[in-house]
């Protein structure tokens, strides 16, 4: 049995990689993948805790997260396509009108 701490450390590392990607990468697809990484880091914690505490609810939550991630990717890729049409590029620093 792998102790819970390992899972948590693994999840934290995954999350940090995701955060780094979100902050540093300009390619919209990599950006979306980084978001996926963060979501899955959370999933890891859910599933690991579920096993650790012997309850099922963590695994149920992870399923919800997956559904959410799928929806998010659908919307995200849609936005990426629109951005590509407009800018002929998928650099996310191009759209700057999302403000007042």
């Amino acid at each position: 049995m792998v102790p819970l701490e390992y899972y948590l450390l693994f999840s934290a590392a995954m999350f940090c990689i995701g955060v780094f990607g979100v902050l540093a990468r300009r390619n919209a697809l990599v950006y979306l993948m980084s978001v996926e990484l963060m979501l899955n880091a959370a999933n890891v914690v859910f599933v690991a805790s579920s096993a650790h505490y012997g309850t099922i609810s963590g695994q149920v939550f992870s399923l919800f997260t997956m559904a959410l991630a799928a929806a998010e990717v659908a919307v995200g890729v849609g936005i990426v396509l629109v951005a590509y049409r407009k800018f002929k590029d998928i650099d996310i620093t191009n759209p700057t009108s999302m403000r007042w």
Partner: protein, 677 residues
């Protein structure tokens, strides 16, 4: 007595109906209005005159009465009601006869002065006259101070209306404003006094046992208690009396609020005769007479009245000495004569004051109407130095005017002699009886007698005697009949009306011939507090004005000598074919007099030099400081938000960075508070 009440109520209501007719018919069907509204006005004032005479006779037959006509506000919550009523007593009966009589004559005169001259706006003019007559009659009949104030203000409004009749000219427009504003300033004090009377006594009734003069008397005697707001009753009543006096001084054009009256001469001359000589200006002193039971309680107020009167009599007379325009001379003489009435009332001479009020209304209306006829003949040129020799052109007017001038100058046996000497005699006796201030007022009044004689006959000689000094004067037409008739009637009256009270001959002819004094003395069943006898008792017992014994004949001879001196001087200087301006010898003093001691300048300065800058300062303060704070709050928040919104760049990565930064800060806070470090 219901029929008396109804008939007396009709006295003001009939001219009011004429006002409505002139106003409504004049607007909707001007052609249907006979003589531009003059005929309804004449009919209405004639009816009022008949009713007034009838009321006068009723009072003579012992029908003096006070009745309530209209409840303005009902009483509630332990408070008092406010009502309108009628007080029909010798004084008010006399006044309504004078008012409706003069008004009738002025309406007739206006036919010649306004209609025949082809003036426009006749309906407006006659509507104003009608409303004025109605208000003035209602004022005279008022049974309490509130009602008196109501109609006091309404006559002021009519005065504004009629002075500004020729509204196209800048003069009348400004004069109308000034007249209303200056009298309003006085009325402010009257209103404070009225509110004070209501607060003190809970009633403003003039006559009866529950009237405020009666209550004040009882309070001074310690028989009743009233709310004097923590002030000693005698002092408080003096304060109230002086506050009410403010309105009197404004309306009767006494110093220092007299400046509006000469300007008011910008109005049509019949208006000057009716409003600014015989009636509205009389409203002020009439109010003092009406409140005599109250004023007689406070020697201080009486002395102030006497001093104001004596000073105004002299002060205005000096200014009349040098005027060029005939109406200006008359205006200043009006101010001066009302000063005499004030002097009479202030020195305790109720009968003398009322007597002079009566005679002055007669001869001053006459002089104004005569001047109006002259002005028409001169085609609205009022400069006396361009007149001369008019006596051959308009003999009727001349003789009537002469009668009025003799009355004004106080030459025996014309009206003014009897009444003015009654006033001066009274002031002299009281002054010698231990009231030095009243004696001082008397001396000012006595000097003014000489001035009066001088300026009156300067006016007569310059206007009617000598050679014509201009083309217009040479070709002047005689006055038309509708101007001559009123002037002639008043001319006769001015000669004889003084005989109703031959006061200086008191010791010679006996009390029986002093009709006016007997008339005012009563007795009045039920209204004992409104008789001259009662007032005299109060003046002696409460105010402590004791009269020294001076023979009335001596006093009369003294003032007659003064008057004749003035007349003689005018005779030698101006009754010559080619008079010159002798008053030029006064040098700079004449300039001061001609400019009315620069009082107008002072008041204009008060308005434009003090009030307007203050108003502008308030406006600037309002826009910069008060509104500045408001706008400052608004612009501060706008600027701040404009700065703050620049945080949002529109780049997704910036937002992500901010999110992560926020998350890290939150984590640190949680961890710090959780004690992990």
């Amino acid at each position: 007595m219901a029929d008396v009440t109804a008939a007396v109520t009709a006295i003001p209501l009939v001219p009011f109906a004429a006002f409505l007719v002139a106003l409504l018919v004049g607007h909707y069907a001007p052609r249907a209005l006979p003589k531009g509204g003059a005929l309804p006005g004449i009919a209405a004032t004639a009816i009022s005159l008949v009713l007034s005479v009838w009321a006068f006779l009723t009072v003579g037959a012992g029908g003096a009465t006070v009745s309530q006509v209209w409840t303005w506000v009902p009483a509630a919550n332990d408070s008092f009601a406010l009502t309108f009523g009628l007080l029909l007593d010798p004084l008010s009966a006399l006044m309504v006869v004078v008012v409706s009589g003069v008004s009738l004559l002025v309406h007739v005169f206006s036919l010649g002065y306004m209609n025949d001259e082809g003036e426009t706006g006749l309906a407006r003019y006659y509507a104003g006259l009608g409303l004025f007559t109605a208000s003035m009659l209602a004022f005279a009949l008022a049974s309490n101070l509130l009602q008196a104030f109501v109609f006091f203000e309404l006559v002021g409004f009519c005065s504004w209306w009629l002075i500004g009749h020729w509204f196209r000219e800048p003069g009348p427009a400004s004069a109308a404003k000034k007249a209303f504003l200056v009298t309003r300033f006085g009325d402010y004090f009257l209103l404070v006094g009225l509110v004070g009377v209501l607060g003190t006594f809970g009633t403003a009734a003039f006559a009866g046992d529950a009237s405020f003069p009666a209550l004040a008397h009882a309070a001074l005697e310690g028989e009743a208690s009233v709310n004097t707001f923590g002030v000693d009753p005698a002092t408080w009543f003096t304060i109230l009396g002086l506050l009410i006096l403010g309105g009197v001084i404004g309306k009767s054009a006494q110093f220092p609020l007299q400046t509006w009256l000469p300007d008011a001469m910008e109005g049509p001359t019949p208006v000057s005769a009716l409003i600014h000589a015989a009636t509205m200006v009389a409203a002020g002193v009439y109010l003092v007479a009406r409140l005599y039971g109250f004023y007689a309680l406070t020697p201080t107020a009486l002395t102030v009245i006497a001093l104001v009167g004596g000073f105004t009599a002299l002060f205005a007379a000096t200014m009349a000495l040098v005027k060029r325009e005939i109406k200006q001379v008359l205006a200043y003489s009006t101010i001066s004569q009302y000063g005499y009435i004030m002097l009479g009332l202030g020195s305790g001479g109720y009968v003398a004051g009322v007597f002079h009020l009566l005679t002055h209304a007669t001869f001053k209306a006459l002089l104004f109407l005569g001047a109006g006829a002259v002005i028409i003949a001169m085609h609205h040129d009022e400069d006396m130095w361009k007149m001369g020799g008019l006596k051959d052109r308009m003999p009727t007017v001349y003789w009537a005017f002469l009668s009025g001038s003799l009355a004004l100058a106080g030459i025996v046996p014309f009206a003014g002699f009897w009444s003015k000497d009654a006033v001066l005699h009274h002031a002299l006796t009281v002054g010698l009886g231990g009231q030095p201030l009243v004696l001082f007022a008397y001396l000012m009044g006595l000097v003014a007698v000489a001035f009066t004689g001088f300026y009156t006959f300067r006016m007569v000689f310059l206007t009617f005697h000598g050679e014509p000094r201009s083309e217009t004067a040479r070709d002047a037409d005689a006055a038309s009949a509708n101007m001559r008739v009123p002037v002639a009637i008043l001319g006769v009256l001015a000669a004889v009306v003084g005989l109703v009270n031959v006061d200086p001959l008191k010791g010679v002819v006996g009390e029986r011939l002093l009709f006016l004094e007997r008339w005012l003395n009563g007795p009045l069943p039920g209204l004992a507090g409104a008789t001259a006898e009662h007032y005299h008792e109060l003046v002696v017992d409460v105010a402590g004005f004791h009269g020294a014994t001076v023979s009335p004949v001596v006093s009369a001879v003294v003032s007659l000598v003064f008057a004749l001196t003035g007349v003689a001087l005018a005779w030698t200087w101006y009754n010559v074919p080619e008079p010159v301006e002798k008053t030029d010898a006064l040098g700079p003093a004449k300039t001061v007099l001609y400019n009315n001691y620069y009082q107008d300048e002072f008041q204009t300065w008060l308005a434009t030099g003090v009030t307007e800058p203050l108003a502008n300062a308030v406006d600037v303060f309002d826009a910069s400081v008060v509104d500045g704070v408001v706008n400052g709050v608004s612009s501060t928040s706008l600027v701040a938000s404009d700065r703050l919104r620049r945080v949002q760049t529109g780049v997704v990565t910036t937002y992500t960075t901010q999110l992560v930064f926020g998350l890290v800060v939150l984590l640190l806070i949680v961890l710090l508070l959780g004690g992990w470090f």
